[in-house]
Amino acid sequence: MTPMAGAHRPVTFVAAPYEATASFVAGCGFGPDAIAERLAGLDPNDACHAVEAPADWTWVEAHPRTLCDPAAMRREVSRHVREALAAGRLPLVVGGEHTVTPAALAVWDDAAGVTVVQFDAHADLRADYEGTPWNHACAMRRAFERGHPLVQLGIRSALHEELQDVYGPAADGSSGLLMREATPTARLLTRSGLRSRGVEPALRGLGERVYVTIDLDALDPSCAPGVGTPEPDGLSYLELLDALDAVLDGRTLVGADVVELCPARDDGRTALLAARLLAWLADRG
């Protein structure tokens, strides 16, 4: 036990093993099980991380892995997140594909007051994809349409049209930083932009309440190989922690998720990293 144990909000991990629209490599529906195993076995003596699994946490299954109906998934995930909040607990959703994020966000009626901070290789701003608006490539578009301010960090893949939809017709990724000032506001730092400018330009004027969503493909494949669509030149684990520190400095974490773990492509590293991130988020709750 660290001296801080028990000083934090109790946590509810909401397992959402939803997998209906994986584009390339299947298997993220098995993500929550792999993460649960690692979470239970986190070494509390690892001083490097300075966090351990929270003292008071529960794990609930929002739905069975075989459920592929998007409306039913949204209903079940929302219900479990709402119940956690009602009990005064911090909800941390464990995916599953990125489509679970808008399902969690649906519980906040004051969308404008909850900024969504996204770590991802992909912008995920498509209006629809492969015939459905409830595809993982559309997750942030749904959040944006609900009225959440967006902060997108470390992005290295996007369609020009989806950027233009949100950031305007002149949106040009080569600038490294895209800004939308109209409501809801949006900021996007590309991988190069984050490397050269740091995270601060995207955080200026950011609201006080924050929901963090981490798509594991934000990380470099050398430290997080277990994802369905690996993209070269991602963030290191420590770069991600530094950026999270900056995001949560003086702000309140209202909820978070870690998504898109694909255990079939993993050697155990990515699941452990996901468990560490969840423990880290619990510690900041």
Binding site: S23, F24, V25, H122, A123, I155, R156, S157, A158, L159, H160, L163, D172, G173, S174, S175, G176, T190, R191, S192, R195, P221, S222, P225, T229, P230, E231, P232, D233, R265
Partner: protein
């Protein structure tokens, strides 16, 4: 072997309406590390369908103004002249028509073929980036192999080979006397307290017009974990994209080849890395050819 369209442009265009063409060249005969390059073009194209056509960091979409992928070349397993001459010819045809050719290997030996076509285009040099210097004269009796590709190339056009971390004593000696060896990987990789060499050294002594020969094994195993790429000390993805960006600012690039993918069942990362690099090379060529994307005109 059937190969789809690189980056899956919508709508697909035929080559006459394209500014750039992808030329699959599944040559796989003599790789030293691991076989499998014959299926590499199909694997890269399949992965490319999961890659956006827009290169976010460059703000360019190389399917803008048309991108076409040709059927794979039929490359024989006979002697090198018979095997690689059709590739030189195909490259020459595309370049003469004003299109930017991107050859998808295939092992890095394909340079021995593309160099033949380049020689007929006039004063063109080759910028080679490979994990192996490539300056041996023969390899197990073969005149065309990854370890001899640069030497074969130099018989047709000037070439400078950089980013290597493997070189035999004879290859180094040959390359040194011919001034063909550019900086090794160790001089091109950024790290704390070490300023990497600029891309100027990749093109020193080469003509104003160059062709890029890029083999994936120039990357470190951390960036590209695949069979046949186990040697430590390679470039990071960021090192490589920095060099490519500088190269396209220094020289006019008439075409490129991307070689050396050895597929490994269950590991999709190498094909994704190759697809992203193909997108980057095309986006850089697009930026060089066209001052603005067509949607802004």
């Amino acid at each position: 072997m059937h190969v789809g369209q690189f980056l899956a442009p919508e709508p697909a265009v035929d080559r006459e309406r394209a500014w750039a063409v992808v030329l699959p060249a599944p040559f796989d005969r003599s790789a030293g590390g691991a076989p499998g390059a014959r299926v590499a073009p199909a694997e890269i194209v399949a992965a490319s369908t999961q890659v956006e056509t827009y290169d976010l960091e460059l703000g360019r979409d190389p399917t803008d103004r048309g991108l076409a992928t040709l059927p794979p070349l039929e490359l024989s397993y006979a002697d090198e002249d018979e095997a690689l001459e059709p590739l030189g010819r195909a490259l020459e045809v595309e370049a003469r028509a004003g299109r930017f050719p991107l050859v998808l290997g295939g092992e890095s030996t394909v340079l021995a073929g593309t160099a033949r076509g380049l020689a007929r285009l006039g004063d063109v040099g080759v910028v080679r980036l490979e994990g192996t210097l490539g300056g041996d004269d023969v390899w197990h009796g073969l005149r065309a192999a990854p370890r001899t590709a640069v030497r074969r190339c130099a018989e047709h056009v000037p070439v400078r080979s950089s980013g290597w971390r493997l070189a035999s004593a004879t290859a180094r000696e040959w390359a040194t006397t011919r001034d063909t060896a550019g900086p090794a990987a160790r001089r091109l990789a950024a790290r704390p307290q070490v300023e990497p060499a600029p891309a100027d050294e990749l093109v020193r002594g080469l003509p104003e017009i160059v062709y890029l020969s890029l083999d994936l094994a120039v990357l470190d195993p951390a960036a590209l974990p695949m069979p046949g790429n186990l040697e430590p000390g390679g470039l990071s993805y960021a090192d490589l994209t920095r060099l490519l960006d500088e190269l396209f600012r220094l020289r006019r690039v008439v075409g490129a080849e991307l070689t050396g993918l050895t597929p490994h069942p269950g590991n999709v990362l190498p094909a994704f890395v190759a697809a992203r690099l193909g997108l980057r090379v095309l986006a850089l060529a697009h930026r060089q050819r066209f001052p603005t994307p067509s949607c802004w005109e």
